[in-house]
Amino acid sequence: MNRFSGKISKIEVNGSLSLVTVAASERITIKTIIIETPETAAYLKIGNTIQVLFKETEVVLGLNQKQAISLQNRINGTIIQIEKGALLSKVVIDTEIGSLVSVVSTEAIKELNLEENQEVIAMIKLNEIMLSE
């Protein structure tokens, strides 16, 4: 799994859901929606250091900065390695917050002409991110 450390910078609560913003660096924030509130989970405190976890298979890769899609979690980086399988490929991306891995279809790699040293945007859906102490 991908794991990054950050500080909780914002918590929006509605009912039993919280939209938590984690600042992984000065420029990169990662948002997640969880079924916890500051009342049910002690780690939900502004300024608290927390781990964000997400699976490699949930990372979407894009080329263009101005894509009209709903994914808000966007992390810029440079591809440093592509490991190709028949159906799936593993892409390692160097980002400001460390290495990030994405597993996508090999076909997609071909279609987008992804190769090493290329700049890409890694995107993760809000609901695919877990928090851990």
Binding site: I35, A41, T57, V101, L131
Partner: protein, 291 residues
């Protein structure tokens, strides 16, 4: 409330160990003692039952003294309101199921015995001898026999370890039920993580005669608190590499699930390891099953 503050020097297979315990168990709790063999788990239960005398210390139950070395108090096992269930059933082979239950009663109470037979679903077995019963049936009889003594404390020394998973799951249900219905304080020795998490309020981890960790099962066994709401513990049964990912097969209760993992996650993982499988509540689909 059980207060156990005792020491005992033991000769185990791994050599001499000094069992040094200081623990408190709230009335009505279901507690598990977990640890490697030779850690002193069974000796702990035996000292509480009065079957093994501590070298020093004291045992209090509901503010009554059961053992006190200094004052030379050592209450006899039969006066301790404790029932003990072992892995090997320990039923009397020459007595029928009913005979085994009756023998355990200090004062005859037919109505209560009938209730136990009903509750443990032993109706069809009452005239059978233990040798004709399956392992799961024997253990149900052993449990009923333990309850026939109307104990306040139930001690379970790996009672389900020899049974296959299906029977084990069913008996776990019985254990949970009787613990609640008879207001028991139950102390279980178990190695089965799923069982421990399912049944116990509190876990004590025993290592070489000392309690090194205690808390709720998740506090003790799950190192990290994780926000995922779709969480299960299971055992790794297979790890296979497929292209750029690994497929890890995990047995959770009776269900086999598969999880895609990366090399970094499977580095320290081997067959038989206990694992937590976690996902977010947002991911699973839910279907009604037509009956």
């Amino acid at each position: 409330m059980i207060k156990l503050n005792v020491s005992k020097s033991l000769d185990s297979v791994e050599g001499k160990i000094n069992l040094r315990l200081n623990l408190q168990i709230e009335k009505g709790q279901f507690v598990t003692i977990y640890g490697e063999s030779g850690a002193g788990k069974t000796s702990t239960l035996r000292m509480l039952a009065g079957l093994l005398q501590p070298d020093d210390g004291e045992v209090y139950v509901d503010n009554e003294v059961w053992f006190n070395k200094q004052n030379n108090i050592d209450r006899a096992p039969q006066k301790r309101k404790v029932a003990y269930v072992f892995q090997d059933y320990a039923l009397f082979p020459h007595l029928t199921v009913k005979g085994n239950l009756e023998f355990a009663q200090t004062t005859k109470d037919t109505a209560y015995l009938e209730e136990l037979i009903l509750k443990m679903e032993l109706g069809e077995l009452i005239n059978r001898k233990p040798a004709t019963l399956s392992g799961g049936q024997k253990q149900r009889v052993a449990l009923a026999r333990a309850l026939a003594q109307k104990p306040e404390i139930l001690l379970l020394d790996e009672p389900l370890a020899a049974l296959d998973i299906k029977i084990r799951l069913k008996l776990q249900e019985y254990l949970r039920q009787i613990h609640q219905e008879y207001n028991l304080t139950t102390i279980l020795i178990s190695h089965d993580l799923g069982e421990i998490i399912k049944l116990s309020d509190r876990v004590f981890v025993l290592e070489k005669g000392q309690i090194i960790k205690s808390g709720s099962p998740t506090e003790v066994f799950v190192d990290q608190q994780i926000s995922g709401k779709f969480k299960f513990t299971g055992e790794v049964t297979k790890i296979e590499k497929q292209e750029v990912v690994y497929i890890v097969t995990v047995l959770i209760d009776q269900n086999v699930v598969k999880v895609i993992a990366q090399e970094t996650e499977i580095n320290n993982l081997k067959i038989g390891d206990k694992v937590m499988v976690a996902s977010k509540a947002f991911n699973p689909l839910i279907y009604k099953i037509d009956e």
